[in-house]
Subunit: 282 residues, 4 copies
């Protein structure tokens, strides 16, 4: 917290969010001597360094840009990617659902482009750890680069390893499977999770969800849940409030379950996924 005064200013090395006409936006790292080419003209980094966040700046053609520190939300949406990413609407929810916060130890497999890695790393700082598994080295490089760019490399350990051999960690609080066949790795996931730990997965198709649910039934997991999240944005003209014309219809189904003491999982915790208000309110 910059106690006691508005000016909180950009420094060389900071990431900056620049939002121009029609809300076109980009994120850049501020480096002395560099220039930023936009479709609306040039911005000199030297004019940005030292400037208060929240300023309006103008390109050499006079087009206005807002100059702001990017949020973790912005960084996730703007990572370089070669895979589908887990979007903030899902990432934010799964953090709460899987009880991930400062100090948590979390496994994710695979790393993908590192979008979820950013969200996890941001949440578990500074004492938690994210163990991010990936089998494709070029993918790992991309994820690592995205994590480094966001300044979160300290809390992420990347592992280039096929998880069919198992995870290196045990006793982790939460484990997220972001890969096409999570049902193949339930045993490995179980071995890595603390008792009572959180298993999560995101899957694009209903067929995969059905298959994962079937695989969870005999496994030592309980309380399976399947959820999807829809985000609808509105146009922000006060006198004409209305949703935007189009929206994302689907990113993936979220599946959650909890790790149980082996042998205790048989029948309970099955049934309807709706958590009811309950007769047993304490």
């Amino acid at each position: 917290m910059s106690v006691g005064g508005k000016p909180s200013c950009a420094r060389a090395g900071d990431l900056a969010l620049l939002v121009g006409p029609k809300r076109r936006w980009r994120i850049v790292r501020l480096e002395p001597g560099q220039t930023l080419q936009t479709h609306h003209g040039v911005l000199n980094h030297d004019d940005l360094i030292g400037r208060p966040w929240g300023s309006r700046v103008a390109t050499h053609l006079g087009h206005p840009y807002l100059f702001l520190p990017p949020s973790i939300h912005d960084l996730i949406l703007r990572i370089r990617r070669i895979t589908q990413i887990v979007y903030p609407k899902e990432a934010g929810y799964l953090l709460l659902k899987m009880n991930i916060g400062p100090g948590s130890h979390v496994i994710e497999a695979g790393s993908g482009s590192g979008g979820l890695t950013l969200a996890l790393a941001h949440a578990v700082r500074p004492d938690g750890r994210v163990y991010s598994y990936e089998t494709r080295s070029e993918m790992q490089r991309l994820a690592r680069r995205n994590v480094e760019r966001a300044g979160l490399a300290d809390v992420v350990e990347f592992r280039l390893r096929d998880i069919v051999e198992g995870f290196e960690e045990t006793g982790v609080n939460a484990l997220f499977l972001d890969l096409p066949t999570p049902w193949d790795y339930l045993e490995q996931a179980y071995a890595a999770l603390v008792n009572g730990g959180y298993l999560g997965a995101v899957l694009p198709t209903a067929n995969q969800v059905a298959r994962l649910l079937a695989a969870l039934e005999p496994a030592p997991f309980g309380l399976p849940e399947v959820e999807e999240i829809l985000l609808r944005a509105y146009k922000t003209v006060p006198a004409r409030l209305r949703p935007v014309d189009r929206m994302v219809a689907h990113t993936g189904y979220l599946v959650f379950a909890r790790s149980l003491v082996s042998g205790d999982a048989e029948a309970e915790g099955r049934g309807d996924a709706e958590r009811t208000g309950g007769d047993d309110v304490s």
Copy 2:
């Protein structure tokens, strides 16, 4: 992380989640000598203390319950409340959107029943702070009690104060207005926020959203966004995958904006709320 071994066991004083038939669930604090009355029989705390998390336990009538540590998600849903709460689907999203994480300094007004306070406190631990304002003392008592019960009192400072007089803090990273007339407090919010900081609000009606958007236009805030989140749960029978019959249709509209350097906000950052892919990808 309980390194190297499954048994992670409940201790006296822990909060425990107990999930019984039909997924009826409750959260209790484990205390020696206490008993828990459920609709399906009695559980003795002494039989739970020392037991591994993830165990199956049985009431004296033989009904099975799952015994788990509760997540922050569970705690939010089960606070004692006398007001509408911000649900995890919105809370998780706004944490990312407003860049709230470990170390953040965040103001919320009002405290309400403390549901969002839990989410905020959980996210900013251990070095961040939540400043939670409320004018009704009995409401503050409720929020404080809910926060204490969740073990998060260390990071929350409750303030019994009418925010029309302004906030005590300056330079906070994010400020969330969870009250009916946020347009009345934009000046106060601006004074408390760091340059580039995040303003958020949740509002039940479209009329309020239109009014807040109108009030933001002349204020030193930019990049207004309005979003709503829908969560749909599925039944988890693998051979009969389908959404549940009914869902929450509305909890509230989320409104976001960013604090700008005063006098720089005129025209830019207005317009369509849809962030486009952009021609300016760095």
Copy 3:
């Protein structure tokens, strides 16, 4: 059209919609000498017969009721039912999608409680026909009674018959399968449909949808589509416009396909279900 004058009045034998406090509503047939018991008092049919539609009437306790002719929408929602019904949001859409209108000949299987039968019969009047198949006689009785009550019996032919033996009709314009295993009846459906005719189905689970899609692939049908419809109602207080708290999350997935000339269906019409704007706009 009651040309030239407001008073359009209820007659004995008419169905009437009565909407009371909190929008509780019911539909009754007006019969001389009868009384209607409501939770808010008694209404005498004799006081209603001859009264203008759109009137306000009062029970003997003074509680106001609106007195209106029911719509087909109202009738569908208020049939006596022992099965899940196809709701107006889906029924209205499938009528357009399957090109069902005045004069259409349509098969449905099964009759169920007759909810969809009402929508179909209402749409194809007076010269079209609905052929409604059912194997359970008590179900057929219920559907027939609901159709008769709505005054639509003239256009519906009920058939008590297992459709595994095929349908009696050929050359029908549209055929709707409202039963759990539509993939078992594609051959029979094909035999009944005119070339280019419309096949429709409603299915509660994703597993069933996947199975029907798989069965359609080798069958002489093309242009498969799967859609779901969500309806969200708003509270109608002008100064507090907002969605209601809860909504129906799922009634069923709609599946559509078109009947092709046998042998011509191989590869085309497959692929992505999204109809694009097209480069070929005429």
Copy 4:
């Protein structure tokens, strides 16, 4: 119904739907001697006339097209338009909601591009009538042309007239206001509607909905309802069932009300728009 036999063949003058690679589709009128240029080659109308519907045809380059009669759904989506249209998901629903069917007399204002006119005309054939009002002559020409092309001109009477002067008809069953300021025409609408008749409107913004609801309060209308419909399509690969990536987020809010006997509307029929199951089930 083409009784007893599959071949139902295209004739000169028919409208035909042609669906090509990637489901690109177009609608053309079959005329001897004409050719159809597609992005995938040429089709000769003479090769199509006389061909069974549901056939597969090939362009001169060998690309396959499905050859089908278009549905009213297809025609609505493919009218020439210079305005936003009412989509089939809303049109189908409002037909049931406003009890519009064969024989209904319906007013719409304005005609717009004629999309809703098609749906209304298709539904009220052959004995009903659609009275379609418009003030802009070029718009009326477009709507008329679209209606004529669909073969529905017999049931539509176009009126070039400012409805502030009122409608020419009285006693109509339903009246739909598809214009920006429906609150300006409630008196005129009331004069045209039969007692108990159906008023409908579609509005893009929440502000308009709030204003219309406020105007309905003192007017002789009751039972106001506001609803929105979301349609989500799925990809149709059986082994990979999932929603498409993007969907329409908003076309408009539907508003409904019923015409009451003047002076009877005071307090009743107000309140929550949710129709409950009711204690008064007959």
